[in-house]
Symmetry: D2
Subunit: 370 residues, 4 copies
């Protein structure tokens, strides 16, 4: 059973390969009546696009989105919204050597063994290019979340390889190519990237994603908890190796008397829970942290085997980001938006006529990012 659909009620079905004719998605389940135009989606795609700074791939895809269906006179009709992005920058490159051997850290080996054949052009289906349709669908979700629930999303990089990036303020994120919530480390990060590039190497990153304004009550225990579905979406993103909610791995060494967030009529006193208790949103900020592994495509020679099982040495040339985590920021926001919107609809389906018996605790107090 193939797994190219994300979400249950707000359903995003992704298609395409890096160097095929096109990539895109079909969104089924979007509520009707929402104003939507291509520019709403293009804006998010442009944030993710390669070539926006010298630290990310220089592949010059326009990534222009076309809305094929689901709109009438500028409003969603409740029918599927199909989004199409043509692949325009398919360099006539020779993929023969990639087709013949397996790049360490890549999906070459697993795709071939699973399916019996694989599309080697630019990584085929396993390319990070396929995150573009996810970002496009996320743009629809975040628009609805904002208009219907006042939910806003934001993400930033808090570690680049060995460099920890102390949180100073969200407003910094838009001012630097690293999406860092900190203005003072940019030069150091640029040097670090240049050094990696010279060394033919790469590094990982840690990304935080947050949603504010999520009402209490979203999430479907036992198994489809809000945090579980967030973890599913995030771990499904290329290169992610770890996901935390709230205090995450720090909670291991915390005591219960510290971890459990106290409540007052004025608000929660802390947010170690990351906005989720028992798999259901508390009304506090949803806080997620991701570990992104270093880019696998590096110039440094590495041992591998070829399709005949013989040992080979693999070096990867061409356009590649030394840190794929940089571009992960808008994608992580999109994924969180899709999960939240799916849960908004799931909650409405079952509990659409429930009125929370207690006046919701404000999210404000204690809700500062660590």
């Amino acid at each position: 059973m193939s797994g190219s659909t994300l979400g249950h009620l707000f359903r995003v079905t992704n298609f395409g390969e890096s160097h095929g004719p096109a990539i895109g998605c079909v969104i089924d389940g979007c509520p009707p009546g929402m104003a939507l135009e291509a520019a709403d989606i293009q804006r998010e795609l442009d944030r993710r696009r390669p070539g926006t700074s010298r630290h990310v791939t220089q592949r010059s895809e326009a990534d222009a989105v076309e809305i094929l269906s689901g709109l009438y006179e500028g409003r969603t009709t409740g029918t599927p919204i199909a989004l199409l992005i043509r692949n325009t920058d398919q360099r006539s490159k020779d993929y023969a050597n990639i087709a013949e051997s397996f790049r360490p850290g890549h999906a070459d080996y697993t795709y071939l063994q699973k399916y019996g054949l694989r599309d080697p052009r630019g990584g085929g289906r396993s390319s990070a290019r396929l995150t573009a349709p996810t970002v496009a669908a996320g743009a629809v979700a975040r628009k609805w979340l904002l208009e219907h629930h006042g939910v806003s999303l934001r993400a930033g990089m808090v570690q680049l390889g060995e460099i920890e990036i102390p949180f100073e303020g969200w407003h910094h994120v838009g001012d630097n190519p690293f999406f860092a919530p900190n203005a003072s480390l940019i030069a150091r990060m640029e040097d670090y990237m240049d050094e990696l590039r010279r060394a033919g190497d790469s590094c990982g990153a840690r990304i935080v994603v947050e949603a504010s304004g999520v009402p209490v009550g979203w999430g479907e225990p036992l198994y489809d908890r809000l945090d579980a579905d967030i973890a599913h979406a995030m771990m499904g993103l290329n290169a992610v190796k770890g996901v935390e909610i709230g205090a995450g791995f720090d909670s291991v060494a915390q005591r219960g008397s510290r971890h459990g967030d106290e409540m007052t009529p004025q608000g929660f006193r802390s947010n170690h829970a990351g906005g989720v208790l028992g798999g259901i949103s508390t009304g506090q900020d949803i806080r997620v942290s991701l570990a992104i592994k270093p880019t696998s495509s590096i110039r440094t020679p590495r041992a591998s085997i070829d399709v005949h099982g013989n040992p080979v040495t693999v070096e990867t040339f061409g356009r590649h980001d030394p840190c794929v985590g940089i571009r992960a920021t808008p994608i992580a926001e999109a994924l969180l938006a899709i999960v939240l919107m799916d849960h908004a609809l799931r909650h409405r389906a079952q509990c659409g006529d429930v009125r929370p018996p207690v006046t919701p605790i404000p999210a404000s107090e204690g809700d500062t990012t660590r």
Copy 2:
């Protein structure tokens, strides 16, 4: 859309509350012809059961499982396997105070606000007791995985609160009440637990779970990657706040030249990937690490509100584990088994006639637990 079903083709639908008449599950999709008896399931349930050491809840549930359907003459018939566990230890306790206020760190507040009412007896549906049906279903999955693919699973605790537990060997896990893969720290851990108990406090834990023998090819990118579905299952477990695959958060500071696992005809040279590349199993050990938060039920007084929105102080008395992570070990194994079995069937559905074109790389080399 309620979320009480785990898995797509091997489907586990969980039901029950802590103090209702019974808990259990229905497993739909188990292949026919497998020998199965209640003892196969009871064995796993007994590992999870409270009261097995002085470090875990002394609630004395027999947790005896009854197989209601899906078997004929000791073999699975391919029809749903319903498992029933009666709740026997429902002490005639007064839950009025729990019903009136919200325990910090618990799901009391979120359940009430989501559904408009809640079952306060023993935490109702949000109780860790509901992991028993998951363990029962996991027992069926792990039996099939072993018989059909030679897959084996194991888990252990590698950190208890502030105490890091160096990995010495899996054989230690069965010899101590902490499921620790290390024999030398037991006394220190016992002292630590006693100290917490005296202080009326609790601590978290880090658990590792592994599966050996998983063939190359399981996992369904784009979204339902094997690691994504593992993250979903694990983050859906009570108290889990973080999930890592392979190197996890350590991969942030790793360089690509170190992280990407080199391949040779004799095997992979390392397993930073944790057995998954591009969302598909590599044939190496699947390695997962979990952060478990400290138990929320503690004797230490904590600030909260009542159902009228007034400030109150909450203290929790009664039987509670100072570290819920101890009992999480068999549950994590069960969850991993369910996810793997689901993916075994999903892979067979689509690729049942694919023969991997390359002789699979052995998993042995480099596959030692860090």
Copy 3:
């Protein structure tokens, strides 16, 4: 992928075999806050039960339902509702001959060939006994539909073998063992049944099922139209060989100028559509008609083969209804209730804040059963 779950948001997972320990189901997705007790379910089960007249199987199952979960203080909590019915009348019969050969018209052959083994006791999973959990789940759905939307359901038999039963009035249905909406043919039907019983033969039936009060707007085109999901549920019932909506097969010979239901501010002028246009409910009565095949278990000797492929003659003795269609009436109502409730929730998920722009056309005019 096993198919023991009916519904998407109101999900009924059925388990059990005719002569196993128990049968039952888990309902996931029921909205919280609805008053519910076992008697609400038992009432519907009693209508379906064998042994209620001399024209149906004399198997004396009490079919007493136990609610295992999902309730607190008499109200649904929004968590799964597990329903259990113990099998009590498992006669110590010798099933060896059934196990060795295939009864014509039964699922013996197909179950064995599909699964490699089968439970021959009373038909195992393929027994009509497994409709009891469906009826139980339907009782929950119809209670919610009535309370939340004023929807009511009813069914009756309109043909018994060769005897067509003209519709006179729904009030007759409860007054005769055939669920016939006609009081004048009962003696003839009883004679017909006696004649069949003497001849060791059986007959089919046609059943109509209706729902009144369904609001305009339920149904999810393109594929999950309301009528499509009704057809799925009904054709999934044992012995059903045909399903019609509205005019059904009569519409083949109708002209468009007759078939298309005219609309006026006072109501629709007819209901050939059966309450569904474009897969979405119109607000008129939902009308469904079912063809039920004759009972396969008959005393008349029939040609078949045994499990070794040799020709044999099969005669079926024991307790069997000469017309299984008689008991199908309450089951068909239950199935329609489940489908409607599922669609009520599906509609609320996506369109929960849509207000129909036009004052709904009343259902009254032209809405008389043909």
Copy 4:
């Protein structure tokens, strides 16, 4: 929860509106390694296309399909296959009057009331044009079914309005514009159509669809029986009001001694079951019959209301088939192919290693179309 996806493992997600930029679908779950090219799909689309005879709509859409993804060097890769068909014949027609009132028998009223707004251009999403992507997806399924299981499909018209069409032979179907399995009635049918056209009226049709070569064992009871899923797919097709399997409604008046198909080592003696027993394929031909209602778009004036609730008279001009059933033939084949392929994969998932214990009964004997 929107319902634009058909199938569980072979999943077809349909998008588009009659007069939007494009229509199409994404097929997820197709097994890898199958040779496929656009011509394989175009062939089936051309059979469905309007304008192929004077008895069907003269809209001149090229309906040229483009494969956007899922292929590499002419073979399926196991990743989603996206199919795109541009809408080219969007006449600059004034849809204002359609937008203002509701055509009887159409989905105008229900779409508007459900979604709060609707796309009135050519019926928008409810147009029969949206069957084109279904046909395209069906082409992929039928190619795989033929290559992997030797399954072949065929359909024909057996009643046109009042004209019953006796079955003479499948070879006639390709020789006449009605897809009739009979050569002698063509002139009469043409006259009948001309008469309807002159009268500004329309008629219904009955279609039969069959699949040969389906192995024993496909279908997932309890609820997702093969016949139930066929009924779902067929009743989900525009204008279908009834679905029969095998003897269908004729089985009501049959006796059990006639209906139950006897088995011999040489084959079944009849096929009243239509190739399905207990929801599982028997190995005989799968036989389905459909009732198609008369075209709703007719010139005859009809009573209706406008969007303000006022009475109006509606006449429909423009290109419309007097009998939509004519073009339903290739669509019904496509739907049956999709359902069968989905069940082939579902069966392989759970029972992939089951070997049927009994030598399968041949399908030949008694397997003639009535």
